[in-house]
């Protein structure tokens, strides 16, 4: 018998009439279709799609930057890019891929799936969620606008001082980097708070933490990592900003400034950051492998615990990025050991994933191919990582292409393979039709081969002594052949991406509708109709175990063999969808976040009055946002729950630096 429960979002049921009259300068947006509905949406699913489209576009941008790099390095003494152009391109390639591709692609999945997987109607703070997206978009546009405004950032994605100080990096290139990253940092921090509260507070009845899907766990751990890592880079960027703009001395060695301060702050952020980049993909793979092996995830508690362990241990390894900096044997020893130890929870996952497939019944559909590809490629990246941990030898490896090989194997072979798997897997749920299997498999093989042809040789180039971040290399170093091979591989990857794009366009036309549960899934999102209605669950489910949906479809006999259960009676639809209260769309997230690039451009060009204006836009929008109720009242409201009164107007007042938590 269906239990009718109140929606578990923070929407208000009754709003004072008085407050509605006074709520904000702008009337509530009403559009449900068209461009305006997307600009004012607070629906986590729409926001997830926005993140997905935007970050995939930047994947094409970052990928083009990679192709330029490979064109320049295909031959010795290349002339495709000047040194200055190359330095901008490699900086932007790294910055783009980390901040504008992998992080927001993960965010796309967090957004779309988390509420669905925990049985919620939306995230805890829907307007704040929209704000995160717009802030991300504006930050991404700002940092890329630098190409047209005098030159893109050229200090490397890691921006080591004092090279990035005003003395050695005159011009605005680095300023764009600083302000762009600060804006992106706001988006990430705010998003982290949102997802932590959502996961901790809005789970459906019966869904204890240890009944959550592994993907949700990884979202939670990644969000905590983001929460604690972003402030550290925020400070590093502020210190650099104050040096560049106001003559401070943080990285001025003549005044006693210490360049290592930058490195410590950056890598204290930077190392947890790489776990932010990989854990979501690990979560995706942990969902896909069991479904396509028709077996549960082997050792669910261990997989979860190892994710948590990585989250904690990831804070204790940052100095391994600094093994050649001259810190002395004590520090270097300690961090060598911690770095080796973090390989343990990582390795454990690999074994658990293989064990999941062991004696399973593997359906090698496209999502599964990418997921298995993840396991295979991430293993290689992980193994080279362990060799780096041998710090004396890292003094040979570091800053060579051997390191470049490592992180591309874990970030591309890992994160991007995992994300691709997720795209193919959840596409039918999100869009209502499946991507072509035939084209998907073609893409997979070209992607897989192209990837290995590009990055496999990087190991050899590194061992052959080729340093990183060089715009060219001379003949007779023994690097010519593998550089050419790698460049060819890069174009194979590019071609596979074109196939993916064609797959998207073609499948959209063909519209192969595959139903609500095409893969015989295990988790709650597959219980929902396709496309997913705005309110997600008509009836909030009650959860009885991990993979609750699977256990509604199957049970096990004494030997552990699957026994199909009779299909459940359709839930009596005694809930009128129109009565489900959803958070209402709003203009304010967009307006508030728009103030950020205004402030940033003003600061970069020294127009401080304009910066103040930007600050006023933000504060004004936040004020109006706080006073606006998160949901407008409905005429046919069903009483209950006792939530009375208007939104607690926790007014946030803002500067770019510290974003207050605001009631959404």
């Amino acid at each position: 018998m269906a239990t009718v429960l109140e929606p578990t979002t923070t929407t208000e049921d009754i709003v004072d009439a008085e407050v509605v009259e006074e709520s904000g300068l702008l009337r509530r947006p009403k559009a449900t279709t068209g461009v305006w509905s997307w600009l004012t949406t607070v629906d986590h699913k729409k926001i997830g799609i926005l993140y997905g489209i935007t970050s995939f576009t930047f994947f094409l941008v970052g990928g083009s930057e990679a192709l330029l790099i490979r064109l320049q390095l295909a031959r010795p003494n290349g002339t495709v890019l000047s040194a200055d152009a190359y330095n901008q391109v490699f900086t932007m390639h790294g910055t783009t891929m980390v901040f504008l591709v992998v992080m927001p692609l993960s965010a796309a999945f967090f957004n779309y799936l988390t509420p669905l997987m925990i049985g919620a109607r939306d995230v805890a703070f829907p307007r704040l969620n929209a704000f995160s997206y717009w802030t991300f978009l504006f930050g991404a546009l700002l940092i890329n606008s630098s190409f047209l405004l005098g030159g893109a950032p050229n200090g490397g994605w890691f921006g080591y001082a004092p090279n990035t100080s005003i003395t050695f990096s005159p011009g605005h290139n680095i300023d764009f980097w600083i302000f762009g990253l600060q804006i992106l940092g706001i988006a990430s921090t705010v998003s982290a708070v949102n997802f932590i509260v959502t996961i901790l507070n809005l789970r459906a009845p019966g869904m204890t933490l240890f009944r959550m899907p592994v993907f949700v766990w990884m979202t939670l751990v990644s969000s905590f990592l983001m929460l604690f890592a972003m402030p550290v880079i925020t400070i590093a960027l502020f210190l650099l900003m104050f040096d560049r703009l106001f003559g401070a001395n943080f990285f001025n060695t003549a005044a006693g400034g210490n360049p290592l301060l930058w490195q410590h702050l950056f890598w204290l952020f930077g190392h947890p950051e790489v776990y932010i980049l990989i854990l979501p993909a690990m979560g995706i793979v942990s969902e896909i492998l069991p479904v396509f092996s028709r077996k549960p995830l082997f050792g669910y508690p261990v997989v979860v615990f190892s994710g948590i362990a990585i989250g904690f241990m990831g804070w204790g390894v940052w100095v391994h990025h600094m093994f050649a900096v001259g810190l002395g044997p004590v520090a270097v020893s300690a961090f060598s050991v911690t770095t080796m130890l973090i390989a343990v929870p990582t390795g454990v996952k690999i074994f658990n994933w293989i064990a999941t497939m062991w004696r399973g019944s593997l359906r090698l559909s496209t999502p599964m191919l990418f997921a298995i590809g993840f396991v295979a490629m991430f293993t290689i990246g992980g193994l080279s990582g362990v060799t780096h941990a041998v710090s004396p030898h890292d003094r040979q490896q570091t800053d060579t292409y051997y390191i470049v090989a490592h992180f591309h194997y874990v970030l591309f072979g890992g994160s991007l393979f995992g994300i691709m798997a997720g795209i193919y897997y959840w596409w039918p749920k999100i869009f209502g039709y499946a991507l072509s299997e035939r084209l998907g498999k073609l893409q997979f093989w070209l992607w897989f081969i192209g990837f290995n042809v590009t990055f496999g040789p990087f190991h050899l180039l590194g061992l052959a002594g080729m340093p990183r971040r060089i715009y060219t290399y001379p003949k007779h170093m023994g690097w010519d052949f593998w550089n050419l091979v790698a460049s060819i591989g890069a174009f194979v990857i590019a071609f596979s991406v074109l196939i993916f794009l064609y797959n998207v366009m073609h499948s959209r036309k063909v519209r192969n509708v595959v139903g609500d549960d095409p893969w015989d899934g295990r988790t709650l999102e597959w219980t929902l109709p396709t496309p997913v209605p705005a309110y997600n669950f008509a009836v909030v489910p009650t959860v009885h175990g991990v993979d609750d949906f699977w256990h509604q479809k199957y049970t096990e006999d004494e030997q552990g063999r699957l026994v199909k259960l009779p299909p459940q009676e359709a839930q009596a639809d005694d809930v009128d969808p129109a009565s489900i209260h959803l958070p209402s769309p709003s203009y304010y997230p967009l307006i508030a976040s728009f103030g950020l690039p205004i402030m940033a451009y003003a600061m970069i060009y020294g127009a401080y009055l304009v910066a103040v204006f930007g600050g006023i836009v933000i504060i004004g929008a936040l004020y109006a946002w706080a006073l606006e109720p998160s949901a407008e009242p409905h005429d046919d409201h069903e009483g209950g729950g006792g939530g009375d009164g208007a939104d607690p107007g926790d007014t946030g007042s803002e500067g770019a630096a510290a974003v207050e938590e605001v009631d959404a």
Binding site: T3, E6, T8, T9, T10, T11, E12, D13, V19, A124, F125, A192, V193, N194, I196, V197, L200, N201, L202, R203, P205, G206, L227, F228, A229, P231, V232, I235, F238, L239, F242, D243, F246, A248, N249, F250, A254, A255, G256, N258, L261, L265, L268, G641, G642, G643, D644, G645, A646, P648, G649, D650, T651, S653, E654, G655, A657, A658, E660, E661
Partner: protein, 204 residues
């Protein structure tokens, strides 16, 4: 049968039950404050790293006026007391006292900020600016960040006061004051750490 209980005060998020028993807003504030710990941690670490490393220019010994800063620290500490009183007031429905104590907190905070402004300007007159040396840079950035946080807190408090004046802050919404209070107390605790580490503990 519902597996969750509806608690009138603790676990009630506007009538909707949360798994932790804390409202979304309160949990969000705690989470945010966790992030802020690292923000200030990084700034304080920077200050500590550069202690004693200035090549020229005024040093803490030359320029600090500990008695003066102790007084303004005391003022800020007292503002935490008035904040607690404000929360107690709204929780028992005493809106007049709520407004009194909110205003008192904001005023004490503003006094602290004025004290800081005076301190900064006198340092600048004595030759210590953000450009002078690493001490100047790390001191002004650390205390400046804290000051901005206090200022934003004052704006929040005055907004609450204004809402209460217009009858928009009923007793049921006491949690808003509690959440603002969490932020205010945090900013106060950070100051205690800064005062101790930056002013009180002497560098060699």
């Amino acid at each position: 049968m519902s597996t969750t209980t509806v608690d009138e005060h603790g676990g009630d998020d506007h009538g909707h039950v949360t798994n932790t028993g804390l409202s979304n807003e309160k949990l969000a504030m705690w989470t945010f404050l966790g992030s802020e710990c690292l923000l200030f941690g990084a700034l304080i670490s920077t200050y500590l790293l550069y202690r004693g490393k200035s090549v020229s220019g005024p040093t803490p010994k030359d320029i600090y006026d500990i008695p003066y800063t102790s007084v303004s620290s005391f003022v800020l500490l007292m503002s935490s007391l008035t904040m607690v009183l404000a929360l107690a007031a709204i929780q028992r429905g005493d809106h007049r006292r709520l407004r009194v104590w909110l205003l008192a907190t904001a005023l004490l905070g503003a006094t602290f900020i004025s004290g800081q402004v005076y301190e900064f300007t006198s340092f600048i007159r004595e030759g210590l600016t953000i450009k002078t040396n690493v001490f100047g840079s790390s001191f002004f950035v650390l205390t400046g960040f804290h000051g901005v946080h206090v200022t934003l807190g004052i704006v929040m408090l005055l907004s609450l006061w204004s809402m209460s004046m217009r009858g928009k802050l009923p007793e049921e919404k006491a949690e808003v004051v509690e959440i603002a209070g969490l932020y205010w107390h945090f900013v106060d605790v950070v100051w205690i750490v800064i005062f101790t580490v930056v002013y009180l503990i002497p560098s060699n």
